[in-house]
């Protein structure tokens, strides 16, 4: 079977499996496990979006959660039913009071507007590198937080933004995850993808061969922001209520941990990181409540799970800084094994 056919078959199998999980799981598993799977898929979307900048382009953004929050609020404002909107957000401009969008359009609009925001923000910021872009994007996150708290006519300020219909279900999240993986895979495994990696590895050399550094970084940034906005909308419709603090440093730390542990240079790495950290967190959460093994009782030690995760993070940084997957992808030998090491494979054949 030719390589093309095998890839297509694999993708089809993956889609069928994904659909089976998405539609079948709620009937077979308890609500708790369905939620865990949903959160893993949702976080995967967010971390994949993050990996585009942080991993593949080398722009380590600490501010993506600002886009997630923007997406959440925008889609929330759009999709709250009209009656509730009048009660909860009385000072909205009249035209927003007049309608409310269903889930999919609200999510798309949120994603697009967030991408637009990313163009505005990224145009100046993507010129920076190293720590400077990290600090600058962190500044962006703080600015978004302050704006959310102060623009209370739109966001209810520090008060809980509630009333968002609980539309996010497993099929929706898996669907968006499939789209995200598809788009990102096409982006990363393409000439543009190689341009991204060139910009990451050696900016000066890249621009010397004519790759537009700013343009490359900006495209990665904006695409990542679009999916962050979409993820934010999914998040909003999962929680139903949130506040500016939901999209601040705690979420940032969480997503970065998943990205780094999984491997910043690979899409599979992002997903693997999410799965591992999520499962580990759940296990730690259960364990930190205290348990008994035979006659031996271990007392509850709340807060231990965060500390353990922090230590694991440092250990990974010391011993395996590229993360679990590093640059490699999980491709069952169908395509080149990794995003960067492709020429040698070709030559070996």
């Amino acid at each position: 079977m030719s390589r093309e056919a095998r890839i297509t078959l694999l993708v089809l199998v993956a889609l069928v499996a994904g659909a089976a999980v998405a539609f079948g799981a709620p009937h077979v598993l308890s609500d708790y496990f369905v939620r865990i799977i949903l959160l893993i898929a949702l976080n995967a979307i967010l971390v994949l979006a993050l990996s585009l900048s942080n991993g593949f382009t080398g722009v380590f953004s600490l501010g993506h959660v600002g886009f997630i929050g923007a997406g959440a609020y925008i889609s929330g404002i759009l999709s709250i039913p009209v009656q509730q909107k009048m009660a909860l957000l009385p000072h909205l401009p009249a035209f927003l009071h007049a309608f409310s969008l269903p889930f999919l359009p609200a999510t798309l609009v949120a994603g697009l507007l967030t991408a637009l925001l990313a163009v505005v923000v990224g145009y100046p910021l993507m010129r920076l590198s190293g720590y400077f872009v990290s600090v600058a994007t962190m500044g962006f996150l703080i600015i978004v937080n302050v704006v959310l708290i102060n623009a209370s006519d739109f966001t209810r300020g520090a008060r809980t933004f509630t009333g968002v219909p609980l539309e996010t279900t497993l099929p929706w999240v898996m669907g968006w995850l499939a789209i995200t993986l598809f788009v990102l895979a096409r982006l990363v495994y393409s000439p543009f993808g190689r341009a991204m990696k060139a910009v990451r590895d050696d900016t000066i050399a890249a621009s010397a061969v004519g790759i537009g550094v700013l343009r490359t970084r900006l495209i990665a940034f904006v695409t990542g922001a679009f999916f962050s906005g979409v993820g934010g909308s999914l998040y909003a419709h999962y929680l139903g209520s949130f506040s500016p603090n939901t999209f601040y440093f705690a979420l940032t730390m969480s997503l970065i941990t998943m990205l780094v542990l999984g491997g910043m240079g690979s899409l599979t790495g992002a997903v693997v990181g999410v799965v591992c950290v999520s499962l580990l967190s759940e296990v730690l959460r259960t364990v930190e409540r205290g348990f008994t093994i035979g006659d031996f009782a271990v007392p509850a030690l709340f807060g231990a799970s965060q500390i353990v995760l922090g230590f694991i993070f440092i250990l990974v940084m010391i011993f395996r800084p590229k993360g679990i997957m590093g640059d490699r992808e999980f491709t069952f030998g169908l395509t080149q094994g990794s995003a960067t090491v492709n020429q040698t494979e070709e030559r070996k054949r």
Binding site: A136, I256, V260, G310, F311, I314, I318
Partner: protein
């Protein structure tokens, strides 16, 4: 209160706040200068200093002794962090080091919460420090803490200046900051210098944390976060890696914050933090070397 009095009062506030920010930024700048590492754990070292004093003074230890112990505790914490977390990754890519410092922060804060609970605790100030002074018929006031902050900042930065220009260790630190490999080549014990830099930076962080808590009145394990952000802004505006830069940046930030709230209508001034960070981003774009380092070569 006349307009002039109002302005003078705000200037007093700005100078006092600026001194605190300068002190807070100096430790961050030292670590970046020597190690090229953005040390996110800086805020937590400040917290350790403040917490040390709060706990010791709370059980009756005389305040000056508690302060010295607090600073020492902060210095030890910095030393340990360097040893355990930063040294193994000294040659790792910048991103990895930045992330490690984030992880260290995370751990220290959560250990603090685990042991001390996240409830805010009183920071016991001795009564002599609780006084305030009035000028101009009560129109302008400043507290002893304000005066103490300004004085301590002045004295300690003078001390630091003497240290890095007159002692061999200090000079060695500056050499390492300018060119680490050259310093090694000429035979300087770079490891030792880095350790010294960390201890000095952490001691300053501890002092800054104590003064910060004295002004805030309370300590809690998460208190290091805000001063850390301020330190970043101040250090970058003034020139990241430069001690004089931290000083200049601190005063500029202090002035910026006070004047935004004092002279702008309250609808705008509630965006104060956003404005400050917008200024920071502007600096990063236009003058990444900060005010004092116009010719700084920036890694692209």
């Amino acid at each position: 209160m006349t307009q002039l009095d109002y302005i003078l009062q705000q200037i007093v506030n700005a100078v006092s706040l600026g001194s605190l920010y300068a002190l807070v930024a100096v430790g961050l700048s030292i670590v970046f200068g020597v190690l090229k590492l953005t040390n996110f754990a800086h805020g937590d070292v400040m917290m350790v200093g403040a917490f040390g004093v709060a706990l010791l003074a709370g059980i009756g230890v005389p305040f000056p002794v508690a302060v010295i112990c607090g600073i020492a505790a902060a210095a030890v914490t910095g030393f340990l962090i360097e040893r355990i977390a930063y040294r193994p990754i000294r040659d790792a890519p910048d991103v990895a080091r930045l992330l490690t410092s984030l992880a260290v922060t995370y751990i220290i804060e959560n250990v603090g919460i685990l042991v001390f609970t996240s409830s805010p605790r009183n920071f016991p100030l001795p009564d002599i420090l609780n006084t305030s002074w009035e000028v101009s018929n009560g129109a302008i006031t400043f507290t002893s803490i304000n005066l103490l902050t300004i004085a301590l900042t002045f004295v300690s930065l003078l001390l630091l200046g003497w240290f890095i220009t007159r002692t061999t260790t200090g000079l060695g630190m500056r050499a390492a900051a300018e060119d680490m490999s050259a310093a090694q080549l000429v035979g300087l014990n770079v490891n030792r210098l880095i350790v010294v830099a960390f201890i000095v930076a952490s001691a300053y962080a501890g002092l800054a944390g104590i003064l910060w808590a004295a002004q805030a009145g309370v300590v809690q394990p998460q208190m290091g976060f805000t001063p850390l952000l301020k330190a970043f802004v101040a250090a970058i505006i003034g020139g990241f890696g430069s001690i004089a830069g931290a000083l200049v940046g601190g005063y500029i930030l202090g002035a910026l914050e006070i004047f935004i709230v004092a002279f702008l209508p309250s609808a705008v001034s509630s965006y104060r933090d956003a404005i400050v960070f917008a200024v920071l981003i502007a600096f990063l774009l236009v003058r990444p070397g900060g005010l004092l380092q116009p010719n700084r070569e920036i890694k692209l």
